[in-house]
């Protein structure tokens, strides 16, 4: 029983690493894995892929504070290094943000809502390609963006991102069924 628990931990951690690596990296990959599984496993011989980077001890501020708010209102605050996308950051921190196309601007599953319009305005305007995907996002709002296109930079320190609540209206073309 114990052995199988360990193999599951290993599989889980390795899956996390594989998951993070499969996202198209827009920056240098910083393996700052925060969960306890990998910390436990760093001492174990079968986990050979986590490279300990000394950035965790560095005093220079090279990251921004980001808070994700899930559909139940639960908040999670994380540190995101400059240049990393919110999607990558979410996956590294076990935040449930889908990323079906892994950052290729071919889906809308990493849709997030920027909770403060001031922060929304600090972001660069979305390109046509992003707008095309946002068209299809569920629960689209005035301050919606794709998580894979929001890149950490000093100006957005403290940004709060809400994960959209699933709506019942599944129609892509915005067709609203007649009330009955």
């Amino acid at each position: 029983m114990f052995i199988s628990k360990f193999s599951r931990l290993g599989a889980h951690a390795i899956k996390d690493l594989v998951k993070a690596r499969s996202i198209t990296p827009r920056t240098s990959y910083v393996p700052a894995i925060q969960n306890s599984y990998s910390q436990a496993l760093r001492h174990k011989s079968f986990c050979t892929t986590a490279e300990k980077v000394s950035e965790e001890g560095s005093e220079e501020k090279q990251n921004v504070s980001v808070t994700f708010v899930d559909k139940d209102g639960e908040e999670k605050n994380i540190k995101v290094p400059f240049g990393m996308s919110m999607l990558e950051a979410a996956h590294e921190n076990d935040i449930e943000l889908e990323g079906a196309c892994e950052g290729s601007l071919a889906c809308s599953t990493c849709h997030v809502i920027v909770m403060d319009v001031d922060y929304y305005n600090k972001l660069e305007d979305p390109a046509d390609e992003e707008n095309d995907m946002l068209d299809l996002a569920f629960g689209l709002s005035e301050t919606s963006r794709l998580g894979c296109q929001i890149i950490a930079k000093p100006e957005i320190n403290g940004i709060r991102l809400a994960l959209p609540v699933a709506t019942r209206n599944f129609a892509v073309d915005g067709y609203k069924p007649k009330p009955h």
Partner: protein
């Protein structure tokens, strides 16, 4: 030999499960099936999920529907593969529910979740629909995407210069794009070689995309439209008169960002107008406010289509609901040798499954299947659920299934909580299914067998500078799977 492998496979899945795991069989391995399986596995650590598909290859329309020149849309396969690799999940391919095993038999072995999509088509119901050269867009798409059921479709692309596509949704645009794109560009994609060969010989130079309603109602979305308007060496033709909007159109666009952006793209294309046609240039025509009345038969080639007889329409309806196209009695024709009907898919009913033939879905509430009973209170079929197109109808994108799966899994979780679904040992699950299939000489394809197919396709593709060369016949697929 095969049985030993299967027994080993069964036993490895039980190392970390409780003694009597709840067993769920997901029928259909497309996005609906995989998103549901993923969510069930995550929400319930004591559940075992088997994903069954009638094809030897998983992933449903991600493999057989998404166009070859849209590889980024297929990246989600990575996520789905990880789900299959979960200890508590197994892919079981080459098993058709409804023929290899009946639904009642399956339900004796598992709680079942049907996510087998919509493998048939809406019919127009007009004369000439049976003529040669008239296909459902689904068949054409399956053909160029290497679905083994359409390997021998052999559409004739060399006896005509014109194709008419009925419908203006994203599938219609995909078909138009595959017919018009320079084949050197297609040669680098995972399009099947039998289709590429046919397209290289194709004499089709004009494609008409015909919609019953106007540009404001066109069912396509901005990205796909932008793409088709930008194909190299293709001139775009839109009648200025079709762009006139009514107040009702304005309301529709005001409320709907997608409609507005689609309309803007179409009107921009119309105003820039086609330059005088260059030699060898291909044409894409957007035809609005026309509904097909009948197909015209060729005089030279009996039994083959030679044109579409269209009736002009006008829109009726109020501002709030969907407006419908009504015929005006004015007709015209488009000559063509190929017609693709892209007017919607339709699900297939199977024995012992409640089915709403009008809507083409399984009657359900939140994914719980409703019984065929005629009583006052709705009765649910115990241990039977639906997700995806079979549940909602054939609309939406891959991501739509995320929310659909969430809803169905919430119903399942509620039922588990209420004790409606039992994990008693009387449901034999995978062993029962495999034994039954074995007794019927059905060779199942496991996920690592699919990986052999995957590796072979990539290797063959490598030789031709393509991401993969799909194995497009049942024989090849099953042979490689059993190596």
């Amino acid at each position: 030999m095969a049985i030993f492998g299967k027994l080993r496979w069964i036993s490895r899945s039980f190392t970390s499960l409780p003694a009597n795991p709840l067993r769920i069989c997901v029928v259909g391995s497309g996005p609906a099936g995989f998103y549901t399986a993923e969510k069930i596995l995550k929400a319930h650590k004591g559940v075992e999920v088997d994903i069954v598909d009638r094809l030897p290859t998983p992933f449903g329309l991600v493999r057989s529907g998404v166009a070859p020149d849209h590889p980024e849309t297929k990246i989600v396969i990575n996520q789905f593969s990880r789900v299959s690799q979960n200890d508590r999940c197994s892919f079981i391919g080459n098993v058709s529910v409804g023929s290899s095993v009946s639904l009642p038999e399956l339900r004796q072995m598992y709680n079942a979740l049907l996510a087998y999509g919509a493998e048939s088509d809406r019919a127009l119901g007009i004369p000439g629909e049976e003529l040669g050269g008239v296909y459902a867009a689904r068949e054409f798409v399956w053909w160029y995407n290497g679905h083994p059921d359409c390997r021998n479709l052999a559409p004739d692309l060399t006896s005509t210069d014109t194709a008419v596509i009925l419908g203006q949704g994203n599938v219609a645009l995909d078909a138009a794009r595959i017919l018009l794109r320079p084949t050197v560009e297609l040669a680098r994609t995972d399009i099947t070689s039998h289709a590429l060969d046919a397209l290289e010989e194709s004499s089709i130079r004009k494609v008409y995309l015909v919609g019953r309603r106007g540009p404001v109602q066109a069912a396509c979305t901005a990205k796909e439209l932008r793409e088709v308007l930008g194909i190299k060496d293709v001139s775009i033709h839109v009648k200025q008169a079709d762009l006139v909007t009514t107040p009702a159109d304005e309301v529709e666009m005001k409320n709907n960002r997608i409609r507005r952006r689609v309309y803007e793209l179409i009107s921009k294309a119309a105003s820039s107008g086609p330059s005088p046609p260059l030699p060898g240039q291909r044409e894409l025509h957007f035809v609005f406010f026309r509904k097909p009345d009948r197909f015209l038969e060729s005089d030279d080639r009996s039994g083959h289509v030679a044109g579409v007889h269209l009736e002009e329409t006008t829109l009726e309806g109020d501002d709030l609901g969907k407006r419908i196209a009504v015929g005006t009695g004015i007709f015209d024709d488009i000559s063509c040798g190929l017609v693709l009907k892209s007017i919607g898919y339709k699900s297939v009913a199977i024995d012992s499954l409640p089915f709403d033939h009008y809507k083409g879905i399984v009657p359900n509430v939140g994914g719980r299947v409703l019984s065929d009973s005629t009583g006052d209170l709705p009765q649910y079929e115990t241990g039977l659920y639906v997700c995806g197109w079979l549940k909602r109808g054939p609309t939406g994108i891959i991501a739509t299934n995320l929310y659909c799966a969430e809803e169905t899994v919430a119903s399942i979780s509620e039922d588990i909580g209420k004790g409606v679904l039992t994990s008693n040992s009387s449901k034999p699950g995978r062993e029962g299914l495999l034994q039954l299939l074995d007794s019927r000489n059905i060779r199942v394809v496991q996920f690592d067998d699919w990986e052999k197919i995957d590796a072979e396709e990539k290797e063959l593709g490598n030789l031709k500078n393509k991401p993969r060369e799909k194995l497009a016949t049942w024989e090849e697929l099953l042979q490689v799977a059993s190596e």
